[in-house]
């Protein structure tokens, strides 16, 4: 398989506090990989390290065989690694459309454009001149996904898409996934909802206290295995 992204004993720190203790992770082209784990397991830190928001050693993160750890976030998004951040983090003083246009700053060409996004999420077209944060949680999540897609990434990293959303809205968001992955987009989702993560992904990593406690094909892992890896008891 075609390896896109690989981390080797990736460590990350917030000041003196270590958050990641040697993560080995692999991502192949066209995969949908889920990362699960309890609060504070290091899932978000891991995504932040990949995108350069948290610094790490240059060679600990390999993008197509090249060390990218600790590069400025702007350089990494230009390589084709985009993130939907935890809690959406839309720009409050920008309209929906302006938020989406922020994705084009990476200056990458590809299939995703405003028209195509509006086809995927028609409600956004309707509200395109409203302030980004005036929308409902689910709609804001669509904007956050759209903003990342507008940079036409090769890999889309999604941090807790379901955070704070009603189950029916979560379903709606995940229903858009097939349309996103149809052209071979590689996706990593961080999820708290284990059964949802198992359902949507092909492979699964479970993090526990900054290490990988379990990995494997999603349908091959049993509930007991996951429970053990998740809680460590």
């Amino acid at each position: 398989m075609d390896n896109l992204l690989k981390t080797q004993s990736l460590e990350a720190f917030y000041g003196d506090a270590q958050a990641l203790f040697g993560i080995d992770f692999e991502l192949n082209k066209g995969e949908l990989v889920a990362i699960i784990g309890a609060n504070g397991a290091g899932k978000s830190t891991f995504l932040k390290s990949l995108t350069g928001l948290v610094k790490s050693k240059r060679d600990a993160i390999q993008w197509k065989g090249q060390g990218i750890g600790g590069l400025p976030p702007g350089d990494i998004v230009q390589l084709g690694l985009a993130m939907v951040p935890e809690g959406r983090r839309l720009f409050p003083s920008l309209t929906v459309e302006e938020n989406l246009k922020m994705g084009t700053l990476a200056k990458r060409s590809g299939p995703w454009s405003l028209e195509r996004l509006y086809k995927l999420f028609p409600i956004l077209k309707e509200k395109r001149n409203a302030p980004g944060t005036s929308l409902s949680g689910g709609q804001q999540q669509m904007v956050a996904i759209g903003r990342a897609l507008m940079s036409n990434p090769e890999v889309l990293l999604c941090d807790e898409l379901s955070l704070g959303l009603a189950p029916i809205v979560i379903r709606e968001i995940y229903n858009a996934m097939p349309a996103i992955t149809a052209e071979g987009m590689t996706v990593v989702v961080v999820e708290q909802d284990v059964s949802l993560a198992k359902q949507v992904s092909q492979r699964l990593y479970c993090f526990q206290e900054g290490t990988v406690s379990l990995q494997g094909a999603s349908d091959a892992l049993s509930r007991e295995q996951i429970s053990l890896a998740y809680f460590g008891v």
Partner: protein, 285 residues
């Protein structure tokens, strides 16, 4: 009284130019530039210094001085102030306070403490009759129009251009703005560069309208600051209207007693702080 109000509004136009740069820098970076007034004085004295060498009209000088001011602002932000930004506002205030002292003393050394002005020739003397006994000076009117155009331009830039979008994005959430590929340090530098262009224009016009001396900076900073607070942080129009109110109130104070003008301005500023601390036109951008 009508005359007083009118002159006050025209004075407010100049304060508007003072305040826009401060509002811009605070809006994008949450940076309070304590040396803002000294930057204005520095620009005025740069023009005064240039008139000693070149015999150009100050208006022309004002247009020429804009470019080096842009570069000055860019470099000050990029190589000095960017390092002071963070959650804590204190480092940036201390550093700009230091800049203020350096500029004041540098100018004192070069130009002595004598008040000076830029000779605008007929422009400063001619007036327009508005009927009745009301006259307005050509220069104050021109300053007012420039201030309004600058406010309009800045508001358009912020609302409708890619650069304005970047300014707002960095102001909202710097981390995510960088994640999207923006270089926040560069955006900040551009914001300060733009503020310094406004400062240069304000400084030259100020020098044409009245006199400047090296120690005027803190007072000009105070006027700019008061205009921003009275107007609220919502939009540049808010800042502009705040400046007009300040100018008008000061002029009314001067009308009653020459010593009361600035005091009246402070009173209104304090009243706004107590009664409506978010300013008259809060967040609408």
């Amino acid at each position: 009284m009508l005359d007083t109000v009118l002159q006050g509004l025209l004075l407010g136009g100049l304060y508007g130019l003072f305040a826009l740069g401060l509002s811009l820098m605070f809006g994008v970076m949450r940076l309070t530039n304590v040396a803002h007034g000294d930057f204005i004085v520095l620009a005025a004295f740069s023009a005064i210094g240039l008139t000693a060498v070149l015999s150009w009209h100050p208006m022309l000088l004002g247009m020429v001085i804009v470019l080096p001011s842009f570069v000055f602002g860019y470099c000050v932000q990029r190589y000095l102030l960017n390092g002071t930004l963070g959650k804590d506002p204190l480092p940036s205030m201390v550093v700009t306070f230091g800049l203020s002292i350096v500029i004041q003393n540098g100018l004192l050394q070069l130009f002595t403490s004598d008040p000076r002005s830029l000779d605008a020739g007929d422009l400063a003397l001619d007036g327009l009759a508005l009927g009745g006994e009301v006259y307005v000076g050509q220069l104050p009117l021109l300053i007012f129009v420039i201030a309004m155009a600058a406010t309009f331009g800045l508001q358009m830039l912020f609302k409708h251009s890619a650069l304005g979008r970047s300014f707002r994005a960095v102001s909202d959430d710097r981390e995510i703005a960088e994640l999207m590929g923006l270089n926040a340090r560069k955006i900040n530098a551009l914001a300060t560069a733009l503020a310094c262009v406004l400062i240069a224009v304000a400084g030259v016009l100020h020098g044409m309208r009245t006199t400047v001396s090296p120690s005027d900076g803190p007072m000009l900073l105070l006027f700019a600051f008061e205009a921003v607070i009275v107007g609220g942080m919502g939009s540049f129009w808010g800042t502009f209207i705040g400046a007009l109110i300040l100018g008008m109130v000061q002029q009314i104070g001067f009308y009653f007693d020459p010593g009361w003008g600035i005091w009246f301005g402070h009173l209104v500023f304090l009243a706004v702080l107590v009664l409506r601390p978010q300013g008259l036109f809060p967040k609408t951008r």
